[in-house]
Amino acid sequence: MNMQSEHLANASNYLTYKGKHRGLLGWILSTDHKRIGLLYLYSILTMFSVGVLLGLAMKLELLAPGKTIMEAQTYNSTFTVHGVIMIFMVVIPGLPAVFGNFLMPIMIGAKDVAFPKLNLLSWWLYVAGVFLVLGALFFGNGAPDTGWTFYAPYSFKTGTNLLPAVFGAFVLGFSSILTGLNFLVTIHRMRCPGLKWTKLPLFVWTLYGTAWIQLLATPVVGITLVLIALERIFGVGVFDPALGGDPILYQHLFWIYSHPAVYIMILPAMGAVSEIIPTFSQKQVFGYKAIIASTMAIAFVGYLVWGHHMFTAGMSGTAQYYFSLLTFIVAIPSAIKVFNWISTMYKGSINVQTPLYWAASFIFVFMVGGLSGLVLGSLATDVHVHDTAFVVAHFHYIVFGGTGFAFMAAIHYWFPKIFGRMYDKGWANAGWLIFFIGFLALYTPMFYLGMMGMPRRYYDYMKEFHGGNILSTFGSWVLATGLIIIIINLVRSAQKGVPAEANPWNGKTLEWTVSSPPSLENFDETPVIAENDGPYNYK
C-alpha cells in the first residue's frame, strides 16, 4: 500500500514524467518550466566550469613575473574568453534562467510561464550562442583578444576570429530578452487569486525588475554589436576614426547596456537572499516595501550611471560630475537592502544552515564590493586605480561574490525542492568554508596590488607585486577545492541523498506547499491566497 502510493507520487513528478518524447529528447524538447530551469542549470554549470578553468590558468600565469605557462597573446585570449563566458553565459542568465524559470511560476501559483514554447526557444538560443562563441576558439585565426567589452577600434582591427563571438553575444542577448519578456507577462497575467502585488515574494519582485532591464537595455547592446560586426565586414565607419567615426561613442552605447546588465546580475541575487534570510530567521522580512522600492530604484537609476566606466576615456567635466553623483545615489538602495537583511535577522530565531552561511557571506562580500565601487565612482580616486587590479578585485567581489554566492545560497536553499533529496550538510558547510577562504585569499590581495599600481590585463608584472600575486594564486586553488567539494556533494546527493520533505526549512512561500520534487503541473488545484496570508507570515 505504502509502496503503491509512493510509486504514484513519483510517477507524476516532473523528473520522472514521461511525455511524447523519451530520454534526452524529453528534456531538450520539453516546454515544462522546471525542466527548462534544469537545462539552464546544467548548461550554465558547464560553461561556468570552462570559465573557472580559464580563470585558474590566468592565476597560474600570474604566479611569477614573466612568462609562467603562456605567452602574452594567449593570456589576452584567455581573459577575453573568460570574460565573455562568465558575463554573457553565466552571471547574466544565472539566477533568472535557472531559479526564475524553476520557481517563479510556482511562487505565483501558476502552472507554467505565459509562453512555454518561447521559453524553450530561449534555451535553444542560449545553446546556439554558446556554440557560436566556442566556435570562435576553434576556427579562424585564433581566439578573440579584445576583452569581453569588444572596444572599438581594436575590435575591428584585430586579426583574431571576433565575428562569431560578437554574433554569439548578440544571440545570447536575444535569449535574455525573450526570457525577460516571458517573465513580465507571466508575473502580470498569471498570479493566482489573492496574490496581490504587495504579497509577491521578493524573489519574484526582483525578477520583475530584472526582466524590465533585460527588455529595455539589451536591444541597445544588440545594435551596438551589429554595428561592430558591420564595421568589421564592410567598414561602415561609425566607430572608425579613420572614416570620421568616434570610438568613444561605441563605449557609451556599450555601457548603456552593460552597466544595467550588472543589475541584471545582482537584483535576482538580492531577491534570493531576501527569501533565504527570513526563512532561516523564522521572521517576517524587515521592510518588505522598502526592499521592493529599492529594487525598482536600482533598476531605474542603474540606467543612468553608465558613464562611470569612462571617466578616463574622454568626457566633459560636467558629465563626469553627474555620472559620479548618480553612482553614489545608486549605492543608497543597495545599502537599504543590507539594513533590511540585517534587521530581519535581529531577534529572529536563527536556524544556522548552509544556505544561511552563503547568504551571510554574500552580505559581507557584497558590502566590500559595493564600498570599493564607491572608490571607483569618485572622480579623483578613479584616476588613480582605473585599469588596475583594483577594478578586477571590485567587480569580482560584486559579480562573483554577489551573484556567485547568492547562486550557491539559492542552490543549497532550493535543492531539496528541485531534486526531492537532501544534500549532506557537513560536506556542504565544509565546501562553503573552503570556498569562502579561497575567495578572500584570491581577490583581497588584488585591492592592494591595484592600489600599488599593478595594471590589469597583462601577463607580466614587476617584482614588487610578487608577494600579493602568490597569495592570490594560492587562493584560486583553495577556491577551486571548495568548488569541487560543493559540486561533488550536490551531484551525489541529487541521486543518493535522503528524500526531502515538502518543506524542510519551514518556508512560507508557495513553492514549499507543493511536493518535493513538484508534480508536472505544480498544483493539484490553483492556490488561493487569503486576505491575511503573506509570503513571510511567521508567528
Binding site: 502552472k111 505565459a114 509562453f115 518561447l118 530578452i177 519578456l181 516571458n182 513580465l184 507577462v185 502580470h188 497575467r189 498569471m190 527588455l215 529595455l216 539589451t218 536591444p219 541597445v220 544588440g222 545594435i223 551596438t224 551589429v226 554595428l227 558591420l230 564592410f234 567598414g235 561602415v236 565607419g237 561609425v238 572614416l243 570620421g244 567615426g245 568616434d246 561613442l249 552605447l253 503541473e521
Partner: protein, 206 residues
Amino acid sequence: MENTLHQEHEHYDAEASKIGMWLFIFTELLLFGGLFIVYSVYRFLNPEAFHLAAEELNTTIGAINTVILLVSSMTIAMSTSTLQMRKKGATLFLLGVTVVLGLVFLVNKYFEWGAKFEHGIWPGSEHLKTAFSQGEILFFGLYYVMTGLHALHIIIGLIIIFFAIHRVNRGTVNENRAALLENAGLYWHLVDLIWIFLFPLFYLIH
C-alpha cells in the same frame, strides 16, 4: 483527470499575447533607438556633409515607398476588422494586398540601392573613401545600415503575415482567437512607424 489536464494546456490568453507583443515592440524601438542616437550625434557633428549627402538620395522613390507602407498598414488594420465581421475571404484578400505592397517596397528598395551601387557608393567602396568627406561616408554608412535593418524587418513582418494567412485560411485564427493576426498587424505598424522616421531623417531634412 486526463481531460482537465488537456484543457489547461489549451489555455488561451489573448491579453497576454498582446502584452508580449507590445513588450517586443519596445525592444525593437530601442534597437533602432541606438541607431537614431548614432545618427543624431553624427548629424550634429557634420551638418553640412549630411546635407550634401542627402541630396544624392531619390526623394521620389522614398515618397512612393512611404505611401506604399502607409497603405499596407491600412490594409492590415482592415483585415483585423473584417476578421471580426467573420468575412474570411475579405481578410485573406486584404492580407494578400499587404504582402504585395511589402514586396513592392522591397523591389523599390532594390532599385534604389542598385542605383547607388552603380555610382560606386557602398560601405567600404574605394569611390566613397576617395571622393567623399568623412561626414558623407558616415551618412551613407548609416543610410545602408538603417534602411537595411528596416528592410530586414519588412521581410520578418512578411513572414509573420504569411503565417497569419495560413492560420486564417485553416480557421485556427478566427474572430474568437485573433491574437496572432492582431500581433502581426502590430508588428507591421511598427515597421511602418520606423520608416516614417527614417524617411524624413534621410530624404527630407536638408
